[in-house]
Symmetry: none
Subunit: 232 residues, 2 copies
C-alpha cells in the first residue's frame, strides 16, 4: 500500500466489486480503506482521516443513503466528499434521496476511467471548489449533471433561466444578491433587460418551490435583492 496518497474509503458489500475498486485506486496511488458494511465504514471514518468516501447505495444493514446522512450530520466528517455508487434502476430513488448531502454519484456499471475522474474531481473539490455536481441547501438539491432539481422527495421542473437563477443562489446560500448582480450572472450580458424582470423570475421560482415546500426558501431583502434562505 502506498504511503501518503489521499485516503479513500470504499464501502461496498459485494466482495468482487470491492476488490476491483480497491485494486484500481491502489494502482493510482491512493491509500485505500475497505468496509463491507456502513457501520464498519463509520468506524473507520472515526479512526482515520479519510479524504473521500465511495459509498454503495445498497448495503446489507443500514443503507448507503442513511450512512451518507450520518456522515454529513457529524461535524468532523461533514466536509469529506462522498460519492455514491448506484445501480441503473435505482436512479429514481436517487433523485429522491439526494438530499443526503452526497457530493456526486456514479451509476453502475461505470468505467474505471470515469470513476477515477470523479474521485479526482471530488478530491479537488474538497480542496479547491470545482467539480461539484450536486448542490444542496436544506432539503433542496440540484443535480447539475442531470439538470434536475428536487425539494425533499419531489422533483421540481424549472425553466432554463430559473435553473440558472437557483444555481447562483444555492452556490452561496443566505448571501444576498442584488437584482443587478443577478442580471449580470444569470442573463450574462443581455443589456436590454429590465431590472424588474428579476422580480418576476424570482416570483416564478418561488411559486414552484413553495408549491412543495413547507416554508419560503427565498428571502426578499427590501432595497437590496434576494437570497436563498429558508427561515422556518
Amino acid at each position: 500500500m502506498t504511503i501518503g496518497g489521499p485516503k479513500v474509503l470504499i464501502v461496498e458489500d459485494e466482495p468482487s466489486q470491492l476488490e476491483l475498486l480497491s485494486y484500481n485506486l491502489d494502482v493510482e496511488g491512493y491509500d485505500v480503506y475497505k468496509a463491507e458494511t456502513g457501520e464498519e465504514g463509520l468506524l473507520i471514518l472515526q479512526e482515520v482521516e479519510i479524504d473521500l468516501v465511495l459509498l454503495d447505495w445498497m448495503l446489507p444493514q443500514t443503507s448507503g443513503l442513511e450512512i451518507c446522512r450520518q456522515i454529513k450530520r457529524d461535524k468532523t466528517t461533514r466536509s469529506i466528499p462522498v460519492i455514491m455508487l448506484t445501480a441503473r434502476g435505482e436512479e429514481d430513488d436517487k433523485v429522491r434521496g439526494l438530499d443526503t448531502g452526497a457530493n456526486d454519484y456514479i451509476v453502475k456499471p461505470y468505467s474505471i476511467k470515469e470513476l477515477l475522474a470523479r474521485v479526482r474531481a471530488g478530491l479537488r473539490n474538497a480542496k479547491g471548489g470545482l467539480g461539484v455536481n450536486i448542490l444542496t441547501y436544506k432539503s433542496l438539491t440540484m443535480d447539475l449533471r442531470r439538470h434536475v432539481v428536487c425539494l425533499g422527495d419531489k422533483v421540481i421542473h424549472l425553466g432554463p433561466l430559473e435553473f440558472k437563477l437557483l444555481r447562483i443562489l444555492i452556490e452561496a446560500p443566505a448571501r444576498v444578491f442584488s437584482r443587478d448582480q443577478l442580471l449580470e450572472r444569470v442573463w450574462s450580458n443581455a443589456l436590454e433587460v429590465e431590472t424588474r424582470t428579476v422580480d418576476v423570475h424570482i416570483g416564478r421560482l418561488r411559486k414552484q418551490l413553495n408549491a412543495v415546500a413547507d416554508a419560503d426558501y427565498i428571502r426578499t431583502v427590501r432595497g437590496f435583492g434576494y437570497s436563498l434562505d429558508k427561515v422556518a
Copy 2:
C-alpha cells in the same frame, strides 16, 4: 519562503488543506506561518507580528471559535483580521456564533480565487477600512454579506434605514453621534428631513433590539445624540 510579504497565519488541522492553503498563499507572495492546533497558533501570534489569520472553525482541542475569541480578547492581537473557514452545514451555527469577533468567513468548499480575494480584502481592511463583512458589538452581530442582524441567537429583522443606522453605530461602538451626523451618514444628502426623524428611527431600532435583549443597547446622550453602548 518569500521574505517581506504580509505575514499570514493558517490554523488548520487537516494537513492536506493546510498544505494547499499554504502553497497558494506562498505563491502569492505571502509569508506563511502554519499551525495545526489553536494553541500552536496562539503561540505563533505571540512570537510573530502576524498580519492576518485564517482559522478553521473545527479544530481538535480548542475550537476555532474559542481561539478567535482569545485572539480578540488580547489587546496586542485584537486588531489582526481573522477569517474563519467553515463547512457548509455549520452555517447555521455560524450565524448564531459570530459574536466571536471574526472579521470575515469563508464557506467550504471555497475557490482559491475567492479565498485570496478575501485575504487581500482583509489586509486592506486592517490598513484602510474596507472589506469588513462581519461587525460585532457584545452579542450583537451584523453580517453584511448576508444582510442579517443577530442578537445572541435571535435574528432581528430591520428595514433598510434601520440597518444603515445600526451599521454606523456599530462601526464605532460607544462613540456618540449627533442627530445631524446620523442624518448626514444614514440619509446621505437628503436635505429635507427633520432632525427629529432620527429619534423615531432610533426608537424603532431600540424597540426591535430590546424585544430580544436583556438590556438597552442604545444610549441616549441628552443634548448630543446616541451611541451603541450596552450599559448593563
